[in-house]
């Protein structure tokens, strides 16, 4: 069962289907949401675009859930998925290793793994449970695979894709066993 559903796209943010009042669009929307609703986690600015998207969505889901935050949690799973893995950041990193201008960026390289987004959420919330990133065809496929994952407790689940600043999408929720 899905609860506390948050949807974010470049044009806005929906919380359980209700639009949130936002002024900005695109990549600026995520910084606006961070400034308005989070504000106390400057690591946000170090994250790549996909991690920012997943992080903001997780913050909005967990605020709605309303449980005490940042206390160690042994069982909560974080399961995220998309179809393109970390391609958006992969291409950015690739631009740092071309022949003419070779200067590979370690801070970009770290984000060329999609599961870093799950790690960012685990670190923020002290979640010691399972974290897993899957690459699947689409959301429908994700829902099907999700049904096979045993849940001992409520899990944080989301489809997170970041193609570019004007084309991204995240839907995240709490999945109840």
């Amino acid at each position: 069962m899905k609860e506390y559903i948050v949807e974010i796209s470049p044009n806005g943010c929906l919380i359980c289907g209700e639009p949130l009042d936002c002024e900005k669009t695109g990549a600026d929307l995520l910084t606006e949401l961070y400034g308005k609703l989070v504000g106390d986690y400057p690591k946000f600015y170090k994250m790549d675009s996909m991690s920012r998207l997943a992080f903001i969505a997780s913050e909005l889901v967990l605020r709605q859930e309303g449980k005490p935050r940042f206390t160690p949690n042994e069982t909560r799973k974080i399961i995220l998925a998309n179809n393109r893995a970390s391609l958006h950041t992969d291409l950015k990193y690739n631009a740092t290793i071309n022949k003419k201008d070779y200067y590979p960026s370690p801070s970009l390289f770290v984000y060329t793994l999609p599961n870093i987004a799950t790690g960012e959420i685990a670190i923020r919330n002290k979640y010691y449970g399972e974290s897993c990133f899957l690459v699947l065809e689409n959301e429908e496929h994700f829902i099907k695979v999700l049904k096979t994952i045993p849940l001992e407790s409520d899990a944080l689940v989301g489809w997170v894709e970041y193609n570019n600043d004007t084309d991204y999408k995240c839907i995240m929720w709490i999945e109840k066993p």
């Binding site: 992969d90 590979p104 870093i116 790690g119 670190i123 010691y128 096979t148």
Partner: protein, 342 residues
């Protein structure tokens, strides 16, 4: 989610293959490791990277798709598995796939074997190969499929080598896991495949049995392991559930040869009370093969238990089970326990 009342299924291994610089079959690979042959060589101008590096590379450049097809084909030899059947699922473990695409090449490999199901790809950095075994066991336990072809592969590229160089994670020489003077890892490329099947527990199956798998996050740092081994320790503890420690032959560690990883694993083993067990570290033969690592090292571990011999030290071992543990970027950790029933 998963129904509580279901027929109890046991997950067994039907077949496997390692396709690496050390050989095209599991047997060739194990015998190379037993003979102390390493795939690691120094490369001076591969991929136009600025610095030279030591790695285990295939004799000729091959694509992710080619490597996967070779490995799965070899693993299927001598089995009666019909990969075109709707009850067969392909599960992939990779970090970079082919030309930064993961989905398309995985579908291409799946379709090459006439399988029409959508594959499942696990991309959990260095733990992907163990994560893929866990995901496959879940897909089988849920009763949707009878057989899972679990394939792990990553190929060397300028992208991967330059990235690890930029992190200063590579040793210029052959890596030295757990040695006091270790100074980094070596990269490698390989494909490795395990074919798993669900069998009714009532049939009392023999052979390699998947006992338990576990994943935990360190909740500590995205690119460094926990100093207190939080996630890894929890994975080991989960794997010791219902385990007769006497029967545990060894722990197959990640053993990358970086200062932090090997320290963290040592601490995790101590915290879990496993400090007296032998460990098996294989990176000196294969380098770190990323998406293939978890599957490749599980297969070599199975060979070691079957032959009652730890290949690294050529010492005899006792026990019919082992734990394969891994840790990776994103703070992720995973472990599985397999046991051999005769």
């Amino acid at each position: 989610m998963v129904p509580l009342l279901r027929v109890l299924e046991t997950i067994i291994k039907i077949s496997d293959n390692i396709y690496s610089p050390l050989g095209n079959t599991t047997e060739e690979n194990f015998s190379a490791v037993m003979s102390g042959i390493s795939g690691l060589k120094k490369y001076y101008d591969m991929f136009d990277c600025v610095e030279s590096f030591t790695a285990s590379a295939m004799p000729t450049r091959m694509t992710f798709t080619q490597m996967c097809i070779e490995s799965v084909s070899q693993a299927l030899l001598g089995t009666d598995i019909d990969t075109t059947s709707a009850n067969v699922i392909f599960v992939f473990s990779t970090t970079k796939g082919e030309d930064l695409q993961l989905w398309e090449p995985a579908v291409a490999v799946t379709r090459h074997f006439g399988n029409k199901n959508l594959p499942v790809i696990v991309s959990n950095a260095c733990i992907s190969g163990v994560s893929a075994q866990i995901m496959a066991s879940r897909l089988l336990t849920a009763g949707i499929y009878k057989t899972a072809v679990v394939i792990g592969c990553d190929v060397l590229s300028k992208f991967i080598v330059s990235g690890f160089q930029s992190l200063k994670a590579l040793s210029a020489e052959k890596c030295r896991p757990f040695a006091p003077d270790r100074d980094g890892l070596n990269l490698g490329e390989a494909a490795a495949c395990m074919i798993l099947s669900a069998v009714s527990e009532s049939k009392n199956p023999n052979g390699w049995i998947y006992e338990v798998g576990s994943m935990h996050n360190d909740a500590n740092h995205i690119s460094g392991p926990s100093r207190t081994a939080e996630g890894s320790y929890r994975c080991l503890t989960d794997c010791l559930d219902k385990c007769n420690i006497e029967n545990l032959a060894f722990i197959s560690v990640h053993g990358t040869g970086t200062a932090y990883n090997d320290d963290m694993e040592t601490l995790a083993l101590h915290r879990a009370g496993l400090e007296s067990k032998p460990i098996l570290a294989l990176k000196v033969y294969y380098g770190h093969t990323l998406g293939a690592t978890g599957i490749l090292e599980t297969i070599i571990s199975m060979q070691a238990v079957e032959k009652c011999m730890l290949p690294t030290t050529r010492t005899g071992i006792h026990g019919n089970s082992f734990i394969k543990m891994l840790s990776g970027f994103g703070g992720c950790n995973a472990a599985v326990r397999w046991s051999l029933k005769k």
